[in-house]
Symmetry: C2
Subunit: 117 residues, 2 copies
Amino acid sequence: MTEVIEPAIETVTIDVVLSALADPVRLTLVRALDAAGDWTCGSDILKNTGVTIGKSTLSHHMKVLRDAGLIRTRVDGIRRLVTLRYDDVERRFPGLLTMLREHGPTRAAVAAPASTA
Amino acid sequence: MTEVIEPAIETVTIDVVLSALADPVRLTLVRALDAAGDWTCGSDILKNTGVTIGKSTLSHHMKVLRDAGLIRTRVDGIRRLVTLRYDDVERRFPGLLTMLREHGPTRAAVAAPASTA
DNA sequence: TCCAATGTTCGATCTGCATCGTACTGTTCA
DNA sequence: TGAACAGTACGATGCAGATCGAACATTGGA
């Protein structure tokens, strides 16, 4: 039940949030966490999203998202469960996550793996 | 009165917008254009913001912002006047520009140029 | 006790992009 | 005509960050 340290939402600046969301992989992760709507572990996210990156890279991205105040991490036995800090983020940046939700993933990002070629 | 080509706001994706806003210089430019609220030329923006970059770099940033649907450019004699596509952007990404406006520039970004050193 | 699974940390590498300088275009004005 | 000005285009450079692999820590089972 140990909580991993995270910044208070009031201290998070929009500059950091925008930088965190500017990366396509991280954007995919955030959308996946939003869709899941519940505590999810890293390896499951990789399976669900189909993103093919190493676990060290995933760990790096998670840290960026955590430092940006976007996700919360909880230790549960062998794994780290993460979830979107939806309420916190919506309180500080109203409409931001809603925007991501309504403007779904870009076609290219979705159709990329199994194309007709 | 020639208008420089710009993307239709409906074709602009949030991925591109987030990438455009992730750069601190471009964020400063957007805020400056928002504060100006009117057609402004590039060299004036540099003066007003105190940003110290070459004109070719400024031109590059303007192109990124234009391609992201955030600004509009108009040719006026010897100079290019730019303005924020406020209504367009607010229509497609409600709350985004409001968010930038309310969450003003980070302290570090403001105090940087004229320090005590 | 040992092993497999999940993540983190750290160093190395590689790529994308911000920046610069130069050359060039187009415009205004003397 | 030519000079000055505003901006673009392009190639080169440097740096930040995305990625990887290996080593390590921790936990849960067999």
